[in-house]
Protein backbone atom coordinates (compact mmCIF):
# COMPACT_ATOMS: atom_id res chain seq x y z
CA UNK A 1 0.00 0.00 0.00
CA UNK A 2 1.45 3.36 -0.91
CA UNK A 3 0.51 6.65 0.64
CA UNK A 4 2.06 9.22 -1.68
CA UNK A 5 2.73 12.63 -0.19
CA UNK A 6 0.26 14.58 -2.27
CA UNK A 7 0.54 18.12 -3.58
CA UNK A 8 -1.79 19.32 -0.83
CA UNK A 9 0.78 18.38 1.81
CA UNK A 10 3.85 19.70 -0.01
CA UNK A 11 5.33 22.98 1.23
CA UNK A 12 7.29 24.22 -1.75
CA UNK A 13 5.50 25.10 -4.99
CA UNK A 14 6.66 23.56 -8.26
CA UNK A 15 5.49 25.98 -10.91
CA UNK A 16 6.36 25.40 -14.55
CA UNK A 17 6.34 27.39 -17.78
CA UNK A 18 2.76 26.21 -18.19
CA UNK A 19 1.84 29.36 -16.28
CA UNK A 20 2.14 31.18 -19.62
CA UNK A 21 -1.17 29.95 -21.11
CA UNK A 22 -2.89 30.98 -17.84
CA UNK A 23 -1.44 34.48 -18.17
CA UNK A 24 -2.31 34.55 -21.86
CA UNK A 25 -5.91 33.52 -21.23
CA UNK A 26 -6.34 36.50 -18.91
CA UNK A 27 -4.69 38.77 -21.44
CA UNK A 28 -7.09 37.62 -24.18
CA UNK A 29 -10.11 38.34 -21.98
CA UNK A 30 -8.70 41.72 -20.97
CA UNK A 31 -8.14 42.63 -24.62
CA UNK A 32 -11.91 42.56 -25.12
CA UNK A 33 -12.39 45.12 -22.35
CA UNK A 34 -9.17 46.96 -23.03
CA UNK A 35 -10.58 50.35 -24.01
CA UNK A 36 -12.72 50.96 -20.90
CA UNK A 37 -9.99 49.42 -18.76
CA UNK A 38 -7.28 51.69 -20.12
CA UNK A 39 -9.55 54.72 -19.91
CA UNK A 40 -9.99 53.85 -16.24
CA UNK A 41 -6.24 53.60 -15.80
CA UNK A 42 -5.88 57.10 -17.25
CA UNK A 43 -8.96 58.69 -15.77
CA UNK A 44 -8.49 57.86 -12.12
CA UNK A 45 -4.94 59.20 -11.74
CA UNK A 46 -5.91 62.36 -13.63
CA UNK A 47 -8.63 62.93 -11.06
CA UNK A 48 -6.22 62.30 -8.21
CA UNK A 49 -3.62 64.61 -9.70
CA UNK A 50 -6.17 67.37 -10.22
CA UNK A 51 -7.72 67.04 -6.79
CA UNK A 52 -4.63 66.44 -4.67
CA UNK A 53 -1.99 67.98 -6.86
CA UNK A 54 -3.64 71.22 -7.85
CA UNK A 55 -6.30 71.43 -5.14
CA UNK A 56 -4.35 70.43 -2.08
CA UNK A 57 -1.01 71.30 -3.64
CA UNK A 58 -2.02 74.95 -3.96
CA UNK A 59 -2.34 75.08 -0.15
CA UNK A 60 0.77 73.03 0.57
CA UNK A 61 3.11 74.45 -2.01
CA UNK A 62 6.33 72.49 -1.72
CA UNK A 63 7.47 69.33 0.00
CA UNK A 64 11.16 69.83 0.56
CA UNK A 65 12.51 70.90 -2.81
CA UNK A 66 9.61 69.38 -4.68
CA UNK A 67 6.31 70.80 -5.94
CA UNK A 68 3.52 68.91 -4.13
CA UNK A 69 1.97 67.76 -7.41
CA UNK A 70 5.29 66.21 -8.44
CA UNK A 71 5.57 64.59 -5.02
CA UNK A 72 2.12 63.09 -5.16
CA UNK A 73 2.30 62.02 -8.82
CA UNK A 74 5.29 59.83 -7.99
CA UNK A 75 3.42 58.41 -4.99
CA UNK A 76 0.29 57.66 -6.98
CA UNK A 77 2.27 55.62 -9.48
CA UNK A 78 3.04 53.25 -6.60
CA UNK A 79 -0.33 53.22 -4.83
CA UNK A 80 -2.16 52.75 -8.10
CA UNK A 81 0.06 49.77 -8.95
CA UNK A 82 -0.75 48.35 -5.53
CA UNK A 83 -4.50 48.67 -5.96
CA UNK A 84 -4.58 47.44 -9.55
CA UNK A 85 -2.62 44.31 -8.71
CA UNK A 86 -4.52 43.69 -5.49
CA UNK A 87 -7.96 44.01 -7.09
CA UNK A 88 -7.01 41.59 -9.83
CA UNK A 89 -5.59 39.03 -7.39
CA UNK A 90 -8.60 39.32 -5.07
CA UNK A 91 -11.82 39.84 -7.01
CA UNK A 92 -10.89 38.67 -10.48
CA UNK A 93 -8.92 35.65 -9.32
CA UNK A 94 -11.71 34.67 -6.93
CA UNK A 95 -14.23 34.95 -9.75
CA UNK A 96 -12.12 32.67 -11.94
CA UNK A 97 -11.64 30.20 -9.10
CA UNK A 98 -15.17 30.03 -7.67
CA UNK A 99 -17.83 31.78 -9.75
CA UNK A 100 -16.65 30.80 -13.23
CA UNK A 101 -14.73 27.65 -12.26
CA UNK A 102 -12.09 28.63 -14.80
CA UNK A 103 -9.38 27.12 -12.63
CA UNK A 104 -11.28 23.84 -12.36
CA UNK A 105 -11.33 23.67 -16.16
CA UNK A 106 -7.58 24.32 -16.23
CA UNK A 107 -7.01 21.54 -13.72
CA UNK A 108 -8.62 19.10 -16.15
CA UNK A 109 -5.75 19.94 -18.50
CA UNK A 110 -2.12 19.25 -17.65
CA UNK A 111 -1.84 22.41 -15.53
CA UNK A 112 -1.10 22.26 -11.82
CA UNK A 113 -2.36 24.60 -9.13
CA UNK A 114 1.13 26.13 -8.87
CA UNK A 115 1.08 27.03 -12.58
CA UNK A 116 -2.30 28.72 -12.18
CA UNK A 117 -1.25 30.70 -9.09
CA UNK A 118 1.95 31.87 -10.78
CA UNK A 119 0.06 32.80 -13.96
CA UNK A 120 -2.45 34.82 -11.92
CA UNK A 121 0.30 36.56 -9.92
CA UNK A 122 2.23 37.58 -13.02
CA UNK A 123 -0.98 38.64 -14.72
CA UNK A 124 -1.93 40.90 -11.81
CA UNK A 125 1.60 42.35 -11.85
CA UNK A 126 1.26 42.94 -15.60
CA UNK A 127 -1.89 44.94 -15.00
CA UNK A 128 -0.14 47.09 -12.40
CA UNK A 129 2.46 47.80 -15.06
CA UNK A 130 -0.26 49.00 -17.44
CA UNK A 131 -1.67 51.25 -14.73
CA UNK A 132 1.74 52.72 -13.81
CA UNK A 133 2.53 53.34 -17.47
CA UNK A 134 -0.75 55.23 -17.90
CA UNK A 135 0.03 57.46 -14.93
CA UNK A 136 3.56 58.11 -16.14
CA UNK A 137 2.15 59.18 -19.52
CA UNK A 138 -0.28 61.57 -17.82
CA UNK A 139 2.48 62.91 -15.56
CA UNK A 140 4.78 63.30 -18.57
CA UNK A 141 2.15 65.25 -20.49
CA UNK A 142 1.67 67.53 -17.47
CA UNK A 143 5.45 68.01 -17.29
CA UNK A 144 5.78 66.35 -13.89
CA UNK A 145 8.54 63.84 -14.75
CA UNK A 146 12.21 64.36 -14.06
CA UNK A 147 13.40 62.75 -17.26
CA UNK A 148 13.63 59.48 -19.21
CA UNK A 149 14.99 57.68 -16.16
CA UNK A 150 11.36 57.59 -15.03
CA UNK A 151 11.10 54.53 -17.29
CA UNK A 152 13.38 52.72 -14.82
CA UNK A 153 10.47 52.83 -12.40
CA UNK A 154 8.57 50.30 -14.53
CA UNK A 155 10.59 47.20 -13.60
CA UNK A 156 10.34 48.27 -9.96
CA UNK A 157 6.57 48.54 -10.38
CA UNK A 158 6.47 45.07 -11.89
CA UNK A 159 8.25 43.66 -8.83
CA UNK A 160 5.92 45.63 -6.54
CA UNK A 161 2.90 44.38 -8.48
CA UNK A 162 4.10 40.82 -7.99
CA UNK A 163 4.51 41.35 -4.25
CA UNK A 164 1.03 42.87 -3.87
CA UNK A 165 -0.49 40.16 -6.08
CA UNK A 166 1.05 37.31 -4.07
CA UNK A 167 -0.03 38.73 -0.70
CA UNK A 168 -3.54 39.33 -2.05
CA UNK A 169 -3.64 35.74 -3.35
CA UNK A 170 -3.14 34.52 0.23
CA UNK A 171 -6.34 36.37 1.14
CA UNK A 172 -8.13 34.94 -1.91
CA UNK A 173 -7.03 31.42 -0.97
CA UNK A 174 -8.57 31.83 2.50
CA UNK A 175 -11.72 33.59 1.34
CA UNK A 176 -15.18 32.01 1.26
CA UNK A 177 -16.84 35.05 -0.33
CA UNK A 178 -16.08 38.47 -1.78
CA UNK A 179 -17.04 40.12 1.52
CA UNK A 180 -13.94 38.71 3.21
CA UNK A 181 -11.74 41.03 1.12
CA UNK A 182 -12.97 44.07 3.04
CA UNK A 183 -10.93 42.96 6.07
CA UNK A 184 -7.80 43.06 3.96
CA UNK A 185 -8.59 46.53 2.68
CA UNK A 186 -9.44 47.93 6.09
CA UNK A 187 -6.72 46.25 8.12
CA UNK A 188 -3.82 46.15 5.68
CA UNK A 189 -4.14 48.15 2.48
CA UNK A 190 -5.63 51.39 3.76
CA UNK A 191 -3.10 51.79 6.64
CA UNK A 192 -0.30 50.90 4.23
CA UNK A 193 -1.56 53.47 1.71
CA UNK A 194 -1.78 56.26 4.30
CA UNK A 195 1.49 55.58 6.13
CA UNK A 196 3.93 54.74 3.34
CA UNK A 197 4.82 58.21 2.08
CA UNK A 198 2.42 58.36 -0.86
CA UNK A 199 0.61 61.55 0.24
CA UNK A 200 3.14 63.09 2.66
CA UNK A 201 6.74 62.40 3.71
CA UNK A 202 7.10 59.65 6.27
CA UNK A 203 9.20 61.93 8.47
CA UNK A 204 5.92 63.61 9.47
CA UNK A 205 4.93 60.46 11.33
CA UNK A 206 6.04 59.41 14.81
CA UNK A 207 9.18 57.26 14.46
CA UNK A 208 7.46 54.08 15.65
CA UNK A 209 4.76 54.36 12.96
CA UNK A 210 7.39 54.95 10.30
CA UNK A 211 9.26 51.84 11.44
CA UNK A 212 6.07 49.81 11.26
CA UNK A 213 5.33 51.15 7.77
CA UNK A 214 8.78 49.97 6.63
CA UNK A 215 7.77 46.42 7.53
CA UNK A 216 5.33 46.58 4.61
CA UNK A 217 6.38 46.75 0.96
CA UNK A 218 4.74 49.97 -0.24
CA UNK A 219 7.05 52.39 1.64
CA UNK A 220 10.10 50.72 0.06
CA UNK A 221 8.58 50.90 -3.41
CA UNK A 222 7.90 54.62 -2.96
CA UNK A 223 11.52 55.16 -1.77
CA UNK A 224 12.84 53.81 -5.06
CA UNK A 225 10.19 55.01 -7.49
CA UNK A 226 9.89 58.61 -6.31
CA UNK A 227 13.53 59.60 -7.05
CA UNK A 228 13.45 57.74 -10.37
CA UNK A 229 10.29 59.53 -11.47
CA UNK A 230 11.26 62.98 -10.22
CA UNK A 231 14.82 63.05 -11.50
CA UNK A 232 16.72 62.13 -8.34
CA UNK A 233 18.88 59.16 -7.43
CA UNK A 234 17.39 56.48 -5.17
CA UNK A 235 19.38 55.33 -2.15
CA UNK A 236 19.77 51.88 -0.61
CA UNK A 237 18.12 50.38 -3.68
CA UNK A 238 19.08 46.79 -2.86
CA UNK A 239 17.37 46.92 0.52
CA UNK A 240 14.29 48.66 -0.82
CA UNK A 241 13.92 46.08 -3.59
CA UNK A 242 14.70 43.16 -1.29
CA UNK A 243 11.59 43.80 0.81
CA UNK A 244 9.01 43.56 -2.02
CA UNK A 245 11.00 40.65 -3.48
CA UNK A 246 10.82 38.82 -0.16
CA UNK A 247 7.10 39.54 0.09
CA UNK A 248 6.60 38.14 -3.41
CA UNK A 249 8.52 34.92 -2.78
CA UNK A 250 7.24 34.14 0.70
CA UNK A 251 3.65 35.05 -0.16
CA UNK A 252 3.76 32.94 -3.31
CA UNK A 253 4.90 29.93 -1.30
CA UNK A 254 2.14 30.44 1.26
CA UNK A 255 -0.58 31.24 -1.29
CA UNK A 256 0.20 28.29 -3.55
CA UNK A 257 0.16 25.90 -0.59
CA UNK A 258 -3.18 27.29 0.58
CA UNK A 259 -4.62 26.95 -2.93
CA UNK A 260 -3.32 23.38 -3.24
CA UNK A 261 -5.01 22.50 0.02
CA UNK A 262 -8.20 24.23 -1.01
CA UNK A 263 -8.44 22.81 -4.54
CA UNK A 264 -6.80 19.37 -4.23
CA UNK A 265 -8.15 18.28 -0.83
Amino acid sequence: MNTPRGPAQRWLPRPSLRFIPVWRRNLLVWRRLMIPSILGHFGEPVLYLLAFGYGLGALIGQVGEMEYIVFIASGIVCSSAMFTSTFEALYSAYTRMETQQTWAAMLGAPLDVDDIVLGEAIWAASKSLVSATAILIVAGVLGLLGGWQALLALPVILLAGLAFACTALIVTALSRSYDFFMYYFTLVLTPMLLLSGVFFPMEQLPAIIGTLAYLLPLAHVVEVVRPLVTGGVPEAVALHLAVPAAYAVVSFIIASRLFRRRLLG
Binding site: N2, T3, P4, G6, P7, P21, V29, T102, A109, P110
Partner: protein
Protein backbone atom coordinates in the same frame (compact mmCIF):
# COMPACT_ATOMS: atom_id res chain seq x y z
CA UNK B 1 1.78 0.85 -28.92
CA UNK B 2 2.99 -1.15 -25.96
CA UNK B 3 1.21 1.01 -23.47
CA UNK B 4 -2.13 0.18 -25.03
CA UNK B 5 -1.73 -3.12 -23.26
CA UNK B 6 -2.09 -1.37 -19.90
CA UNK B 7 -5.60 -1.41 -18.52
CA UNK B 8 -7.28 1.99 -18.70
CA UNK B 9 -7.74 2.10 -14.95
CA UNK B 10 -6.36 -0.20 -12.27
CA UNK B 11 -7.34 0.82 -8.75
CA UNK B 12 -6.78 -1.21 -5.61
CA UNK B 13 -8.25 -0.46 -2.21
CA UNK B 14 -8.67 3.28 -2.74
CA UNK B 15 -9.60 5.14 0.41
CA UNK B 16 -10.42 8.82 0.81
CA UNK B 17 -11.45 10.33 4.12
CA UNK B 18 -12.81 13.76 4.84
CA UNK B 19 -12.79 14.71 8.51
CA UNK B 20 -12.41 11.08 9.59
CA UNK B 21 -15.33 9.89 7.43
CA UNK B 22 -14.39 7.55 4.58
CA UNK B 23 -16.14 8.91 1.48
CA UNK B 24 -14.43 6.25 -0.61
CA UNK B 25 -13.79 3.19 1.48
CA UNK B 26 -11.70 0.55 -0.26
CA UNK B 27 -12.65 0.74 -3.93
CA UNK B 28 -11.17 -1.66 -6.49
CA UNK B 29 -11.70 -0.89 -10.17
CA UNK B 30 -10.41 -2.47 -13.36
CA UNK B 31 -11.47 -0.61 -16.49
CA UNK B 32 -10.51 -2.21 -19.83
CA UNK B 33 -9.30 -0.30 -22.83
CA UNK B 34 -12.05 0.69 -25.21
CA UNK B 35 -15.00 0.06 -22.94
CA UNK B 36 -17.55 2.43 -21.54
CA UNK B 37 -17.44 2.00 -17.79
CA UNK B 38 -20.03 3.51 -15.48
CA UNK B 39 -19.98 4.41 -11.81
CA UNK B 40 -23.61 4.24 -10.75
CA UNK B 41 -24.95 5.34 -7.41
CA UNK B 42 -26.89 7.96 -5.50
CA UNK B 43 -25.48 11.38 -4.62
CA UNK B 44 -22.86 10.99 -1.91
CA UNK B 45 -21.91 7.45 -2.94
CA UNK B 46 -18.33 8.53 -3.66
CA UNK B 47 -18.52 8.63 -7.47
CA UNK B 48 -17.17 12.13 -7.98
CA UNK B 49 -14.43 11.65 -5.38
CA UNK B 50 -13.40 8.46 -7.19
CA UNK B 51 -13.23 10.35 -10.49
CA UNK B 52 -11.16 13.11 -8.90
CA UNK B 53 -8.74 10.50 -7.62
CA UNK B 54 -8.47 8.95 -11.10
CA UNK B 55 -7.42 12.36 -12.45
CA UNK B 56 -4.94 13.01 -9.66
CA UNK B 57 -6.98 15.97 -8.40
CA UNK B 58 -7.54 14.38 -5.00
CA UNK B 59 -4.78 12.22 -3.55
CA UNK B 60 -6.10 8.98 -2.02
CA UNK B 61 -5.36 8.46 1.67
CA UNK B 62 -4.34 4.92 0.82
CA UNK B 63 -4.50 2.46 -2.03
CA UNK B 64 -2.81 1.96 -5.36
CA UNK B 65 -3.88 3.61 -8.60
CA UNK B 66 -2.65 3.41 -12.18
CA UNK B 67 -4.43 5.13 -15.08
CA UNK B 68 -3.29 4.50 -18.68
CA UNK B 69 -0.14 2.99 -17.18
CA UNK B 70 0.70 6.16 -15.24
CA UNK B 71 0.95 5.99 -11.45
CA UNK B 72 -1.44 8.53 -9.95
CA UNK B 73 -1.13 11.07 -8.38
CA UNK B 74 2.66 10.98 -8.93
CA UNK B 75 2.37 11.40 -12.71
CA UNK B 76 -1.03 13.08 -12.83
CA UNK B 77 0.16 15.88 -15.09
CA UNK B 78 1.47 13.44 -17.72
CA UNK B 79 -1.74 11.47 -17.37
CA UNK B 80 -4.01 14.47 -17.85
CA UNK B 81 -2.24 15.27 -21.12
CA UNK B 82 -3.77 11.99 -22.41
CA UNK B 83 -7.21 12.28 -20.82
CA UNK B 84 -10.30 14.37 -21.59
CA UNK B 85 -12.44 15.66 -18.73
CA UNK B 86 -16.12 16.61 -18.82
CA UNK B 87 -16.97 18.10 -15.42
CA UNK B 88 -20.32 17.97 -13.68
CA UNK B 89 -20.73 21.77 -13.83
CA UNK B 90 -20.10 23.59 -17.08
CA UNK B 91 -16.96 25.66 -16.63
CA UNK B 92 -16.67 27.11 -20.11
CA UNK B 93 -15.11 30.54 -20.42
CA UNK B 94 -18.05 32.99 -20.63
CA UNK B 95 -15.86 35.78 -22.04
CA UNK B 96 -14.87 33.73 -25.09
CA UNK B 97 -16.65 32.54 -28.19
CA UNK B 98 -17.26 28.86 -28.89
CA UNK B 99 -14.16 28.64 -31.06
CA UNK B 100 -12.00 30.61 -28.61
CA UNK B 101 -13.02 28.23 -25.85
CA UNK B 102 -11.49 25.40 -27.87
CA UNK B 103 -8.31 27.26 -28.87
CA UNK B 104 -7.73 28.57 -25.34
CA UNK B 105 -8.22 25.13 -23.84
CA UNK B 106 -5.80 23.75 -26.42
CA UNK B 107 -3.20 26.22 -25.18
CA UNK B 108 -3.37 24.60 -21.72
CA UNK B 109 -2.10 21.43 -23.40
CA UNK B 110 0.69 23.34 -25.09
CA UNK B 111 -1.16 23.07 -28.44
CA UNK B 112 -1.17 26.13 -30.67
CA UNK B 113 -3.78 26.96 -33.21
CA UNK B 114 -1.48 26.11 -36.13
CA UNK B 115 -0.71 22.68 -34.62
CA UNK B 116 -4.39 21.93 -34.43
CA UNK B 117 -5.08 22.33 -38.15
CA UNK B 118 -8.56 21.09 -38.90
CA UNK B 119 -9.11 19.66 -35.46
CA UNK B 120 -11.09 22.68 -34.22
CA UNK B 121 -13.42 22.51 -37.22
CA UNK B 122 -13.87 18.77 -36.78
CA UNK B 123 -14.70 19.21 -33.12
CA UNK B 124 -17.17 22.00 -33.91
CA UNK B 125 -18.86 19.69 -36.40
CA UNK B 126 -18.82 16.82 -33.90
CA UNK B 127 -20.56 19.04 -31.37
CA UNK B 128 -22.96 20.36 -34.07
CA UNK B 129 -21.75 23.87 -33.23
CA UNK B 130 -20.08 24.72 -36.54
CA UNK B 131 -22.70 27.39 -37.20
CA UNK B 132 -22.30 28.83 -33.70
CA UNK B 133 -18.50 29.07 -33.73
CA UNK B 134 -18.56 32.85 -33.17
CA UNK B 135 -21.31 32.81 -30.54
CA UNK B 136 -20.47 33.72 -26.97
CA UNK B 137 -21.00 31.01 -24.38
CA UNK B 138 -23.85 32.76 -22.49
CA UNK B 139 -25.88 32.68 -25.73
CA UNK B 140 -25.78 28.85 -25.89
CA UNK B 141 -28.48 26.48 -24.62
CA UNK B 142 -27.69 23.96 -21.89
CA UNK B 143 -27.35 21.16 -24.43
CA UNK B 144 -25.01 23.20 -26.62
CA UNK B 145 -22.85 24.09 -23.63
CA UNK B 146 -22.54 20.44 -22.68
CA UNK B 147 -21.62 19.49 -26.27
CA UNK B 148 -19.01 22.24 -26.31
CA UNK B 149 -17.63 20.95 -23.01
CA UNK B 150 -17.44 17.49 -24.57
CA UNK B 151 -15.71 18.85 -27.69
CA UNK B 152 -13.28 20.73 -25.46
CA UNK B 153 -12.44 17.49 -23.65
CA UNK B 154 -11.42 15.97 -27.00
CA UNK B 155 -9.00 18.75 -27.96
CA UNK B 156 -5.96 16.63 -27.05
CA UNK B 157 -7.25 13.50 -28.84
CA UNK B 158 -7.52 11.67 -25.49
CA UNK B 159 -7.27 7.91 -25.02
CA UNK B 160 -9.59 8.11 -22.01
CA UNK B 161 -12.54 10.44 -21.50
CA UNK B 162 -13.82 10.94 -17.96
CA UNK B 163 -17.35 12.32 -17.60
CA UNK B 164 -19.02 13.35 -14.36
CA UNK B 165 -22.79 13.06 -14.84
CA UNK B 166 -22.69 13.95 -18.54
CA UNK B 167 -26.43 14.37 -19.00
CA UNK B 168 -27.56 15.77 -15.66
CA UNK B 169 -29.77 18.81 -16.10
CA UNK B 170 -30.38 18.30 -19.82
CA UNK B 171 -33.76 17.92 -21.49
CA UNK B 172 -34.53 14.53 -23.14
CA UNK B 173 -33.51 15.61 -26.65
CA UNK B 174 -30.24 17.14 -25.52
CA UNK B 175 -29.58 13.99 -23.52
CA UNK B 176 -30.11 11.76 -26.57
CA UNK B 177 -27.74 14.02 -28.48
CA UNK B 178 -24.99 13.60 -25.88
CA UNK B 179 -25.51 9.82 -25.69
CA UNK B 180 -25.14 9.54 -29.43
CA UNK B 181 -21.84 11.45 -29.27
CA UNK B 182 -20.59 9.23 -26.44
CA UNK B 183 -21.39 6.08 -28.41
CA UNK B 184 -19.43 7.55 -31.29
CA UNK B 185 -16.41 8.14 -29.05
CA UNK B 186 -16.56 4.55 -27.89
CA UNK B 187 -16.81 3.37 -31.50
CA UNK B 188 -13.62 5.37 -32.19
CA UNK B 189 -11.87 3.14 -29.68
CA UNK B 190 -11.67 5.56 -26.78
CA UNK B 191 -12.21 4.42 -23.23
CA UNK B 192 -15.02 6.19 -21.37
CA UNK B 193 -15.48 6.36 -17.61
CA UNK B 194 -18.63 8.13 -16.49
CA UNK B 195 -20.63 8.64 -13.35
CA UNK B 196 -24.38 8.73 -13.36
CA UNK B 197 -27.39 8.33 -11.15
CA UNK B 198 -29.63 7.62 -14.11
CA UNK B 199 -30.42 3.93 -14.66
CA UNK B 200 -31.35 4.55 -18.24
CA UNK B 201 -28.04 6.22 -19.01
CA UNK B 202 -26.12 3.41 -17.36
CA UNK B 203 -28.09 0.69 -19.15
CA UNK B 204 -27.87 2.31 -22.56
CA UNK B 205 -24.27 3.44 -22.59
CA UNK B 206 -22.17 1.28 -20.34
CA UNK B 207 -20.51 -2.01 -21.19
CA UNK B 208 -19.83 -2.53 -17.53
CA UNK B 209 -20.90 -0.84 -14.34
CA UNK B 210 -19.70 -0.52 -10.79
CA UNK B 211 -22.63 0.10 -8.48
CA UNK B 212 -21.44 2.31 -5.65
CA UNK B 213 -23.08 3.00 -2.34
CA UNK B 214 -21.64 4.72 0.72
CA UNK B 215 -18.11 4.66 -0.60
CA UNK B 216 -17.91 1.02 -1.64
CA UNK B 217 -18.51 -0.92 -4.87
CA UNK B 218 -21.40 -3.28 -4.11
CA UNK B 219 -21.37 -4.99 -7.52
CA UNK B 220 -19.52 -4.74 -10.81
CA UNK B 221 -20.50 -6.35 -14.12
CA UNK B 222 -22.36 -5.69 -17.37
CA UNK B 223 -25.85 -4.23 -16.88
CA UNK B 224 -27.49 -7.43 -18.20
CA UNK B 225 -25.38 -9.70 -16.01
CA UNK B 226 -26.11 -7.59 -12.93
CA UNK B 227 -29.85 -7.88 -13.48
CA UNK B 228 -29.65 -11.57 -14.31
CA UNK B 229 -27.45 -12.51 -11.36
CA UNK B 230 -29.18 -10.54 -8.67
CA UNK B 231 -32.86 -10.58 -9.63
CA UNK B 232 -35.86 -12.36 -11.00
CA UNK B 233 -36.67 -11.36 -14.57
CA UNK B 234 -39.82 -9.35 -13.93
CA UNK B 235 -41.22 -6.89 -11.48
CA UNK B 236 -44.90 -6.34 -10.83
CA UNK B 237 -45.17 -2.86 -9.41
CA UNK B 238 -48.02 -1.65 -7.22
CA UNK B 239 -48.40 2.03 -6.49
CA UNK B 240 -50.49 4.27 -4.25
CA UNK B 241 -53.78 2.70 -3.19
CA UNK B 242 -52.81 -0.74 -4.54
CA UNK B 243 -49.55 -0.61 -2.60
CA UNK B 244 -51.42 0.23 0.61
CA UNK B 245 -53.90 -2.64 0.20
CA UNK B 246 -51.50 -5.34 -0.97
CA UNK B 247 -49.90 -6.36 2.36
CA UNK B 248 -53.27 -7.63 3.60
CA UNK B 249 -54.41 -8.98 0.22
CA UNK B 250 -51.14 -10.77 -0.39
CA UNK B 251 -50.87 -12.39 2.97
CA UNK B 252 -50.05 -16.06 2.91
CA UNK B 253 -49.04 -16.02 -0.74
CA UNK B 254 -45.49 -17.06 -1.49
CA UNK B 255 -44.49 -13.98 -3.46
CA UNK B 256 -41.15 -12.25 -3.14
CA UNK B 257 -41.98 -8.62 -2.35
CA UNK B 258 -40.39 -5.42 -1.13
CA UNK B 259 -41.91 -2.14 -0.01
CA UNK B 260 -40.21 1.07 -1.05
CA UNK B 261 -41.92 4.20 0.15
CA UNK B 262 -45.29 4.40 -1.64
CA UNK B 263 -44.55 1.43 -3.88
CA UNK B 264 -44.63 -2.35 -3.49
CA UNK B 265 -42.43 -4.39 -5.82
CA UNK B 266 -43.19 -8.06 -6.49
CA UNK B 267 -40.40 -10.05 -8.13
CA UNK B 268 -40.90 -13.13 -10.29
CA UNK B 269 -39.28 -15.06 -13.15
CA UNK B 270 -42.78 -16.15 -14.24
CA UNK B 271 -45.01 -13.13 -13.62
CA UNK B 272 -48.40 -14.64 -14.61
CA UNK B 273 -49.32 -16.18 -11.23
CA UNK B 274 -48.34 -12.94 -9.47
CA UNK B 275 -50.42 -10.84 -11.84
CA UNK B 276 -53.32 -13.21 -11.35
CA UNK B 277 -53.04 -12.91 -7.57
CA UNK B 278 -52.91 -9.14 -7.73
CA UNK B 279 -55.84 -8.97 -10.12
CA UNK B 280 -57.81 -11.34 -7.87
CA UNK B 281 -57.35 -8.84 -5.05
CA UNK B 282 -58.81 -6.18 -7.34
CA UNK B 283 -55.63 -4.13 -7.55
CA UNK B 284 -54.03 -2.32 -10.49
CA UNK B 285 -50.43 -3.13 -11.33
CA UNK B 286 -47.60 -2.40 -13.73
CA UNK B 287 -45.54 -5.22 -15.23
CA UNK B 288 -41.98 -4.41 -16.29
CA UNK B 289 -38.65 -6.19 -16.71
CA UNK B 290 -36.34 -5.96 -13.72
CA UNK B 291 -33.80 -3.19 -14.12
CA UNK B 292 -30.68 -1.77 -12.51
CA UNK B 293 -32.67 0.22 -10.03
CA UNK B 294 -34.10 -3.02 -8.70
CA UNK B 295 -30.59 -4.45 -8.50
CA UNK B 296 -29.48 -1.41 -6.57
CA UNK B 297 -32.39 -1.75 -4.20
CA UNK B 298 -31.71 -5.45 -3.71
CA UNK B 299 -28.02 -4.91 -3.02
CA UNK B 300 -28.21 -1.86 -0.78
CA UNK B 301 -31.67 -2.08 0.75
CA UNK B 302 -32.53 1.45 -0.28
CA UNK B 303 -33.72 3.36 -3.31
CA UNK B 304 -31.13 5.07 -5.51
CA UNK B 305 -33.06 8.34 -5.43
CA UNK B 306 -32.63 8.66 -1.67
Amino acid sequence: MARDADPAVAAEALVKRYGGVAVVDGVDLAVRRGECFGLLGPNGAGKTTTLRMLLGLTPPDSGRLTVLGEPVPQRARELRARVGVVPQLDNLDPDFTVRENLTTYASYFGLRERDLGRRIDELLAFAALDKRASARVPALSGGMKRRLTLARALINDPELVVLDEPSTGLDPQARQHIWQRLRQLRADGRTLVLTTHYMEEAERLCDRLAIMDRGVVVACDSPEALVERHLERYVVELRGDAARRWPAAGQGRDIHSREVGETVLLYADEPEPVMAAVAAAGLKYLLRPANLEDVFLRLTGHDIRE
